[in-house]
């Protein structure tokens, strides 16, 4: 940074350069935010002007929550999906990055092939996974049959269903030829894990930034590879893991295109693919309940903000920021 500073005309220039963004900020973020908040207390169908109805939209959301209909079901679905896909993608991402940073011949090719799925457009990937997860002739069930897992219904089944007979058979230690362990949301998790390459790239960059000297010091102390992973790699990666947890959470809650295509826009089977994003879209644009949808959006925003805050609060216990720059 040079010491001498410039005339105040710079202030005008600063505002002018930022002007397009400022317009966008006001028109696409600030106004929409407050409009949403306002409409969440209204009945609004976009044809007639919004009509104040007090907290009744929130009342409906609360009763949905109790009955597990609509919003309630969508919230449970979203929690199921996020709580499964986000941690799994972090774990898988780190493991793959560690594996792909080992000095192996052909490393660049392996990295490319693991990353490649994440450049596949979601629309194409969803079409592909519809086929891969086909219960009769999909590749996933075929591979699972190699390790003795009976055919799963995947996208045709709302939730895992293990019948009483199956339970009884498992208890007696008998061969189980049919149990349905995986449903539609597990299919969605599987599909999201296929695209983990993005995260892998970020971890790989972070791993290559870890000073060699740390590993050398650990080796001097006779640390095994497992201990090096646990005491050098993971702590050094923790800021990035934290960043990916936060971004992964935000991204998973916003998942929309894949569930829309996998369920042809309905959230089927039995509403099991209705994550909040789809429920909100359908309430707004097929039921024209803008007020109700806005209330849902506001709750989602608050929930996401709280979850992010919570992650930040826990971060001080496990995220190690490097002291030396």
């Amino acid at each position: 940074m040079s010491g001498k500073r410039l005339p105040p005309t710079e202030t005008a220039a600063g505002w002018l350069f930022c002007l397009p963004w400022i317009i966008g900020f006001l028109a696409l973020f600030v106004w929409p935010f407050f409009a949403s908040a306002w409409w969440s207390f209204c009945q609004y169908d976009m044809v007639n002007p919004p009509r104040w109805v007090g907290g009744s939209n929130y009342g409906r959301l609360a009763s949905d929550l109790v009955t597990q209909q609509g919003f309630g079901q969508a919230l449970t679905n979203t929690l199921y999906y996020s709580l499964l896909s986000v941690p799994l993608s972090v774990i898988l991402g780190v493991l793959l990055a560690v594996l792909l940073s080992a000095p192996l011949r052909g490393q660049a090719i392996y990295r490319t092939l693991v990353f490649l799925p994440s450049v596949i457009p979601v629309v194409a990937a969803s079409i592909l996974w519809l086929w891969l997860l086909n219960p009769e002739s999909g590749m996933v069930n075929y591979l699972l049959s190699w390790v003795g897992v009976p055919p799963q219904n995947w996208l045709n089944q709302a939730r895992p269903a293990i019948s009483m007979e199956t339970m009884e058979m498992i208890r007696q230690g008998g061969m189980v030829s049919s149990f349905k362990l995986f449903g539609s949301k597990d299919a969605l998790v599987l599909m999201s894990l296929w695209g983990v390459g993005n995260f892998v790239v970020i971890y790989l960059a972070a791993i290559s930034d870890i000073p060699r000297s740390l590993y050398e010091a650990a080796e001097m102390d006779g640390a095994s590879p497992g201990r090096k992973l646990l005491h050098v790699t993971l702590p050094m990666l923790s800021p990035i893991i934290f960043f990916n947890l936060v971004m992964g959470l935000i991204r998973s809650v916003q998942t929309f295109t894949s569930i829309y295509i996998l369920s042809e826009g309905t959230g089927a089977p039995a509403g099991s693919l209705k994550l909040i994003s789809l429920e909100l879209f359908l309430s707004a644009f097929s039921d024209l309940e803008m007020g109700y949808a806005s209330a849902m959006a506001l709750l989602l925003f608050i929930g996401l903000a709280l979850a992010t805050l919570l992650l930040f609060r826990t971060s001080r216990y496990w995220v190690h920021y490097r002291m030396v720059a």
């Binding site: 929409p32 457009p121 629309v123 194409a124 916003q254 295109t257």
Partner: protein
């Protein structure tokens, strides 16, 4: 030494296994797109189609107005790439190399918009776009890109910060205004970063499904991503055609990735996002 060797072999096996699992879906897509529907039923798992049935491709293309969808997609991509690159470069410059007191907190606001889920702005934005008379127009998707995007502003700002002050000073000596500095010094020096932004925006727009779903109703204006979804509903049982269409739609992304691999990887690892 022997143990080392065994460990190394184990690593190779593990890597090969993983890579095979990650690649398998793509192989299934391509090989499925080359099978007849009869072959697909008879032998759904074989990766090597017996007889290359290229005919799926023209048939898939013929069953959707491919050229219409493609030209809409390209129009959208062109508009959004121009919009984003321009607006984000302007803002990033204002937030990094113009010296004014507001730039710190304004950059904070830029970052804050990243954390706002689209759900909460979706309905009012839709109302706004409709009020502007842009519903069912490609501008509904293009216009907002002229108003900046937090991720790309962040990415460009990081890059602009690395430009040596001495180069800017030299420009000022020559009597360049901030506007002149932007066009004559900063932009020419930032081509790699601008290319990254353009590339990511191109990919984002190519893949975008939500925008067209929300704003377009006339099939003559559909881009490929949205048209393809319509194709799924109509041809759901003809897997070979669906896979051919999906392969075609994916191909440009794979080509772009291989042509610009370094740009991709660097862009992702500096910002932690994908296109």
């Amino acid at each position: 030494m022997k143990r080392q060797r065994a460990k190394k072999s184990l690593m190779y096996l593990l890597v090969w296994f993983t890579v095979a699992l990650f690649s398998l879906p793509l192989l299934v897509m391509v090989s499925g797109s080359l099978k007849t529907s009869g072959q697909l039923t008879r032998d759904p798992y074989g990766l090597w189609p017996d007889g290359w049935n290229w005919g799926n491709y023209p048939e898939a293309l013929a069953s959707l107005p491919f050229l219409v969808y493609l030209s809409n997609t390209l129009l959208l991509c062109a508009g959004c790439v121009i919009g984003t690159t321009l607006s984000c470069a302007l803002a990033a410059y204002g937030l990094s190399r113009v010296n004014w007191s507001g730039r710190r907190w304004m950059f904070g606001l830029v970052i804050a918009t990243m954390l706002l889920p689209w759900h909460i702005t979706m309905i009012p934005r839709f109302v706004l776009i409709s009020e502007l008379g842009l519903y069912n127009s490609l501008w509904a998707i293009v216009l907002p890109t002229f108003l900046g995007d937090a991720f790309f502003i962040f990415l460009l700002r990081q890059f602009f910060m690395t430009i040596p002050e001495s180069l800017l000073d030299a420009g000022r000596m020559d009597g360049l205004s901030p506007w002149g500095l932007f066009w004559k010094v900063v932009i020419p020096l930032s081509k790699p970063a601008l290319a990254t932004v353009a590339l990511f925006q191109f990919v984002t727009t190519w893949n975008d499904f939500g925008g067209p779903l929300l704003y377009l109703s006339d099939p003559q204006k559909f881009p490929l991503a949205y048209g393809l979804e319509r194709f799924v509903s109509a041809y759901g049982d003809q897997t070979n055609l669906l896979l051919a269409a999906a392969t075609l739609f994916t191909l440009p992304m794979i080509l772009i990735f291989f042509l610009a691999q370094k740009t991709f990887i660097q862009g992702i690892s500096t910002t932690g996002i994908k296109g």
